[in-house]
Symmetry: C2
Subunit: 321 residues, 2 copies
């Protein structure tokens, strides 16, 4: 009830287009925030200067933050705070980020991938608060994932666990560098839009046609969700197929880990019941009642701040032990 007496941490959500930094207290409240375009600060010296600005701004008249947590879009060795590679940000290959920040600013630093940070945020402050065993999925361009075991992120033996987007749903499916028939090759923004465009070009009647003025390039998952909510059969079909693919993976995840809950975030997850109704229905069909009765599937709740507060939670969790 006295947030200024709480310990604080700085969360930095390093996205492909925006870097968001926030001063977060242990209740998950964002006390102050600042952001920059990734393109403007993606050279490493500029990025470190940005951290310096955050520290000065967030530090004024306040107790020193307990540390800095950074979430990045790529492969990370969490233990060493080392970035192997960021998919969409040039110049960030093999960067010992934690060491660099620590050396310059003398603070504890934790670096994790962005889906882990999102999951931890939802887990500690959002939809996962009441659960100790949870699996997270983010639906965006691809499908990201994270695993929470006994209330803590589980990163696997080499920091790369949670890649549910690459779990196969068809052993004879399409080949990719990640294997065959991975969930991500069936689900995701681009697939959703492509499926709609294909059906429309094939002459299928749909509300979508008027919603985008016959311009397929204007199709988005949001517009498709709007059409589905208005009962458009094509949009409903596409959401149903996507939900069944997701349910196949979620069933496998449930058989392997039996979490209490699967929490779904990312843009498409905001479609609401047009996604969650068929998702829960197909998941029930794909599980034995012993498992079906016990698993929940719920949407994430923190929206765009999940990553930011999750980064701060990396610091608080580490401090806790």
């Amino acid at each position: 009830m006295k947030p200024h007496r709480q310990r604080t941490a700085i969360g930095i959500d390093f996205g492909g287009t925006t870097v968001k930094a926030g001063l977060v207290d242990e209740t998950g409240a964002v006390l102050d925030r600042v952001q920059a375009a990734t393109a403007d600060i993606c050279a490493r010296p500029a990025w470190l200067d940005f951290v310096g600005q955050c520290l000065r701004r967030f530090g004024t008249g306040r107790r020193r933050p307990a540390g800095i947590g950074v979430g990045v879009p790529g492969f990370v060795d969490f233990k060493r705070g080392f970035i192997y590679n960021l998919t969409n940000v040039p110049g960030w290959t093999r960067v010992p980020l934690a060491g660099m920040i620590k050396k310059r600013f003398g603070l504890n630093v934790f670096v994790d991938n962005d889906v882990n940070a999102f999951a931890l945020g939802e887990c500690v402050y959002g939809a996962g608060r009441r659960f100790s065993q949870a699996v997270f999925a983010t639906l965006g361009t691809g499908v990201g994932g994270a695993v929470v075991i006994d209330g803590r992120l589980y990163r696997g033996a080499y920091s790369m666990a949670g890649e549910i987007g690459h779990m196969s749903i068809d052993l004879h499916g399409r080949r990719t560098p990640e294997g065959r028939g991975g969930l991500e090759t069936y689900v995701g923004n681009t697939r959703l839009v492509a499926a709609a465009a294909r059906a429309l070009r094939a002459g299928r009647r749909s509300l979508l046609r008027s919603l985008v003025n016959n311009d397929m390039r204007r199709l988005t998952p949001e517009i498709m969700a709007r059409a589905a909510r208005r009962g458009d059969p094509l949009a409903l079909d596409i959401f149903d197929t996507m939900a069944d693919c997701l349910a196949t993976t979620f069933a496998s995840v449930t058989y392997l880990l039996q979490p209490e809950v699967i929490i779904v975030g990312g843009g498409v997850a905001q479609s609401g019941r047009v996604l969650f109704e068929p998702l829960r229905r197909h998941l029930r069909e794909r599980l034995h009642p012993f498992f079906a009765e016990r698993i929940r599937v719920i949407p994430a709740v923190l929206g765009a701040d999940a990553g930011l507060v999750g980064c701060a939670a990396l610091v608080f969790q580490a401090a806790r032990g």
Copy 2:
């Protein structure tokens, strides 16, 4: 080096045909053992009498065991030591086994499913000894599984995790009470034998024909492994297909959990390189190099005693905290 000074525990491996009990020390050595036919003692009073006999026999001139661990072939609530149901043993539905044994004999009791006990045995005393993050698969009539996280069995939120045999490898696969296209519907002793019999009946030439004297009923996984080791193309094909199905699930498991190792036990796992060579090859094909380079697949090593010592390990692990 002074095993008689070690703490001991009693392991009871409650199988569908045999109940094996052993006095096990903390190094995993079986100091004494006794067994009975399941049919003879499967009435509950007789079963408890058997436990009493074990205690008298194992107790003579020795320090009191730290407790009893029981592995059973079915669904269990580990926390309560409660058996929901045993698949192949009549009369064992909704049995509070831990409470019953504890009440009568005053010892600590732990009840888990048999695959968990096997996995714990291999993990503490066998092929998993050097690993903290491991996944286990047992290939028998079906496919069982277990998950070890940070050196301990992970049972999920409701004691039922590890069912890798029900993980789907084909979203359009065969429907069963457990979903669609579960690994177990492609892999397992019966499938292996049925695939061979089908090919032989269709006229395919194979060493198998002479190995079973043209009597398909004599086909077993062991005979098929023998034929495969001698280079028989049909037997090699069938092992290759089975290995690819297993690899599909193992790839998904690796993407989700990134264990250090997947340990494979059960009868078919004793086929050796005719299984493991194609299994490792297909797994590599189905994983991104980041994951493929880091995952190992190795056979279990304890053979028939894994369950027994694993049951004892349930007691030692609990005592450890």
